[in-house]
Subunit: 220 residues, 2 copies
């Protein structure tokens, strides 16, 4: 009885995600869905990325949160257009939420749209938004076993960023064990280890993102 | 259209949670629901607690995970009975899951049942299990703004444990700002700052837990 209902919900979401993608494509906006546990560094990576790429690309952001505008305010402080989605308690963004946010952005003046999902390592994995790429931020303090324990999230993304490398010595974190877990679930995945705090390792992530945007544009 | 359905689901869950509570009470088992973000230290606090209290109380555990038995194995290694609930992708435990786990435990030989929820700072808050107390573990690396950004979780718990105090100097974490956020949502909440790694601060948590168990027993 319940399975068909769930399938209908996902199907409706997927249809709206496809509509979002078409709208982004029409405006030549490359969109990235950024997901992570609470406190892994989503907003930090986004603000770092805006600071480093804002001269080369026109950037906009959509910020999903259960409550407060703390993250959206941090991004808006950098002078880029931001739309806040307050999910009102919901544990993830979905395609209808992004659909309602897009008209509030000047899409024709944006090259790269960064969507910050709700801090959650489970639910966001099940809801496509229509973004061109999805990125998962892990962080050293969370522990090296997370790919094993949250496989759905790790399986569905295009890149993994391991953040907070600057505190590696304070934790028992086996990078090889972590990467093995990622590789089993998602072979050949783009992987970057970095520190948003010190800036160490950010360049690899930025090169990848530039290349993805470049490739996106070549199709038109 | 949708709201009545959601209410029915919660109501059914609440009824089963009440049944779980009655069953635990009948067996004189005090149950604690432990919730947190992924990697905040749920399993570490539980193993520490088992190590320190196992001589005084007979302890059992229920371990909720999306995948793997990594956490359950860590707890079972201490020689206490553990039932693993593999949620099969679900983002939280609910009362039916606990109901199905209880018959697999020797309840008559358990004084304290520790239930480890799925690592998630959103969804577990909405599903009562029937436990007598709920505890939220926060951790320093997650950042001091979490009470503001995840208010539902902080509002619904009986105690907050701030873990990973040993790495405080490596992060910008304002304990006063954090505590203020907690206090606004949940005035007078029991609060413990500690490090499962070093053992610093554990005693306050253990004293509280002992007192809660003692108070629970006095009603019979």
């Amino acid at each position: 009885m319940q399975v068909p209902v769930v399938e209908q919900i996902f199907s409706a979401n997927d249809q709206l995600a496809a509509a979002n993608r078409a709208r982004l494509d029409a405006a030549r906006v490359f969109a990235v869905n950024v997901m992570a546990s609470p406190g892994a560094g989503k907003t930090s990576l986004i603000t770092r990325t805006v600071e480093m790429l804002n001269g080369d690309f026109r950037i906009g952001a959509v910020d999903g949160d259960i409550a407060t505008t703390i993250d959206a305010d941090r991004i808006a402080a950098l002078g880029v257009p931001v739309v806040q989605i307050n999910t009102g308690g919901a544990c993830h963004l979905d395609a209808p939420m992004l659909q309602s946010a897009l008209p509030q952005l000047p899409l024709e003046e944006i090259d790269l749209l960064i969507v910050e999902n709700v801090g959650n390592l489970v639910c966001p994995a099940s809801f496509k938004l229509g973004a061109h790429r999805s990125v998962l931020i892990a962080s050293v303090p969370e522990g090296d076993d997370k790919p094993y324990k949250y496989p759905v999230m790790y399986r569905g993304v295009d890149a993994v960023v391991l953040n907070k490398m600057d505190v590696m010595t304070a934790f028992e974190f086996d990078v090889d064990y972590f990467r093995h877990g990622v590789e089993v679930l998602n072979p050949g995945l783009a992987f970057f280890s970095l520190s948003c705090k010190t800036g160490e390792g950010l360049n690899g992530w930025l090169v990848w993102l530039r290349d993805e945007i470049k490739e996106f544009r070549q199709q038109f």
